[in-house]
Symmetry: C2
Subunit: 476 residues, 2 copies
Amino acid sequence: MLTHSVPAPRWIARVLVLTCAFASVSSAQDSLTDRYRDDAGRILGAALVDTHGWEKLEHLTTVIGHRLSGSKGLENAIDWALGEMKAEGLTCYRQPTMVPHWVRGKESAELVEPVQRSVAMLGLGGSVGTPPAGITAPVIVVRDFDELDALGRAGVEGKIVVYAVDWEGYGRTVRYRVGGASRAAKLGAVAVLVRSATGSSLHTPHTGTLRYDDDAPRIPAAAITVEDALWMRRTQVLGRAMRVTLRMGAQTFEDAPSANVVAEIRGSELPDEVVVMGGHFDSWDVGQGAHDDGAPCMAAWEALTILHRLGLQPRRTLRVVLWTAEENSGAGADAYRESIGEDASSHVAAIEMDGGCERPIGFGFTLASEEGADGATKDEANGRARKLLEEIAAFFEPIDAAAIRDGGGGADIGPLMRDGVPGMSLNTVGEHYFDWHHTHADTLDKIEPTDFRRAVALFAVMGYVLADMPETLAVR
Amino acid sequence: MLTHSVPAPRWIARVLVLTCAFASVSSAQDSLTDRYRDDAGRILGAALVDTHGWEKLEHLTTVIGHRLSGSKGLENAIDWALGEMKAEGLTCYRQPTMVPHWVRGKESAELVEPVQRSVAMLGLGGSVGTPPAGITAPVIVVRDFDELDALGRAGVEGKIVVYAVDWEGYGRTVRYRVGGASRAAKLGAVAVLVRSATGSSLHTPHTGTLRYDDDAPRIPAAAITVEDALWMRRTQVLGRAMRVTLRMGAQTFEDAPSANVVAEIRGSELPDEVVVMGGHFDSWDVGQGAHDDGAPCMAAWEALTILHRLGLQPRRTLRVVLWTAEENSGAGADAYRESIGEDASSHVAAIEMDGGCERPIGFGFTLASEEGADGATKDEANGRARKLLEEIAAFFEPIDAAAIRDGGGGADIGPLMRDGVPGMSLNTVGEHYFDWHHTHADTLDKIEPTDFRRAVALFAVMGYVLADMPETLAVR
């Protein structure tokens, strides 16, 4: 008799593992793909043939239209959504908060030299207006902040500064929209016109918010088209003087009442643990707020509706929030964060979709805590979370949306993430989002119904499994 | 001694052919590629590093701007071009003609029901205006002429017809812009709004000409954006009534004096035989007329300038024409046709570029006559012409522009082609042309300088060889 042990052939080990996997589907060893296969199939099937979500999106964009904070449009949308949610049998409520109330008013820009013609523009959100007669001043074109600084007060004072900057992607180019007014005002500029933050233009101005520094005079600021910014740049190079008359009736009123829209399926076992998902319900006051962020809101909502209709109640609470006033303050995000109390650990995950509703490709994720409570390093915790998400995302392979990427989140879930809640973004191919972003062209016709259905499917399956699975993304 | 002949080895035959080719470059057996290699190299080299043409295009688009027939802009452009051509040492002249004089005036469209908002629009060229107070009427949306006809007078009378048609390519979709007003007027419509003839929109209306039938009341007509056309379609499906106020100050005045710009290098041996090439110098009264048709005009002109600078004088006359008033009448094309007398056989070829200045890919060609004078069938004549063109186009292989396709021509060379002149178009990839066509977005920033240089090269080499080669495309 041999006393030393003999290793079993490798094929025996493999058979044993496979047998265990199939014999005990509820074992913690089993992948989420295995454990949730049936539920995911029901959800996917329902989402991919759904028409009800698109009808809601059609109503939102076509009947209600754009929804700037402080506007009747936004409040109409909130009332409508709560009414519909109730009719669908969802638990839902209004979460009140005050929001900025800026009104564009009548506005125009007119070139008066070297030729007379109108210049397409959109005032920037939060901008002060001009006197009723407008501001008429010479134009000085700069390509970046360095050129502005090099000009100094002598070159800028009394002028309208035109930021005819190059497109370096949204993140870099948008700096001129956000901070350009105060930078120029400190040198004595009387107004600024900023190249729209887009890489692609059909004579389309893009609005968006600006930020005034406390130590600079507040001067009017508007976006102009790429075409006119580049025309002005060339005209200045050719040595031709330009003058513009800018008229903006913009006004900021007292903050207005608004609300987040909240709907949820209460958890069956751990109702105080929450997975929250959604988008922002407000938009700029142009177009229909279809990609930004109507379709994502409707997709998250319809995901919940479908789960409710299928009678699927996860162990934790799955909550949809349509945040208010993301575009110009984040008031809705702050109100939500406050509503859950000081300790954010009730929230096991937050998912936001705010990059338009082109074809979904999967999710990005960010684990906020540096390390797991069990002493795992950040890399280890990340690896575990990624593995779980990949097991869920496997369900999205047939619709080519199974990509799990490092880095995800969003403005509305930012306050949660800062307090340790794992954050995720529902990602798309993002090919044309910034072509439409904050313009009259952000309209329903830019959305493929099939892409919308895919987003519904991703929200529904991911939200359900995250809310139901015994594991969580972050070890606390 | 063997009495039957022994065939020479094949390599001997090959050596003989090659020797002949190099020894006798002017032999009619040699390809045009061989015969014009040196000249083509000089021309290509000069064109591909040229900056002077771009400077002219920059002046045209940035300083002069758009150039509607009857406008000061067009006449400024004509004066400037003739002055510059003279300064370049080109033989050039003004070829006067009268042109339509339509002026857009102040215009707007306002939705007054179910919500109040402005609707982006551009009146169609040649449209009548509205009374000063505008026309306010209910909207009826149709998807095509069949739907219009099915509605009949009962459904259309007193209404503003909106053609919210699908995009079926320019050729099919533009029918609604050209003929939609009269079709609707015959059923009692008071105005029409037409979906812009484009497949891609960022809330960008596209103007263009319309044609009134003699047997229909003339009603105002304007283009609206794809976004609004589709919004109106959805709104009607949702059962919501719409009303619009349309205000158009459009007026048609007496025809105005204008001119074709003609420049040429007189032929050294056959000065009365002509190769003519160019584009139309006028544009719509929006944007800068950069792609349509400023850049092609400047490319043809600069091609001639380069040949002149290189001292290359072809055997025949090579002529550039910048035709006036293509957009709304073809007056310039007719004036040119008339100027050459009844018999068009003096013209051995005509090349037009009027599809924008994206990346060139080669030429299209059409032999107008049914058969050659030598009794060749059309297929045989076509085959011979194609072979000649391919031999010339071989020079464009390094810039990927050697494609010779059946079918080519243009509105300005149409009268010549109808009288038997072989017609060619300088073709581009044509990916985005109709995105910009007849809009405020047809601006210089949409043109790649390299694409423009390639167009200069194609015009210069093709024009020179066609004007110099002993052969002609069509046997007469």
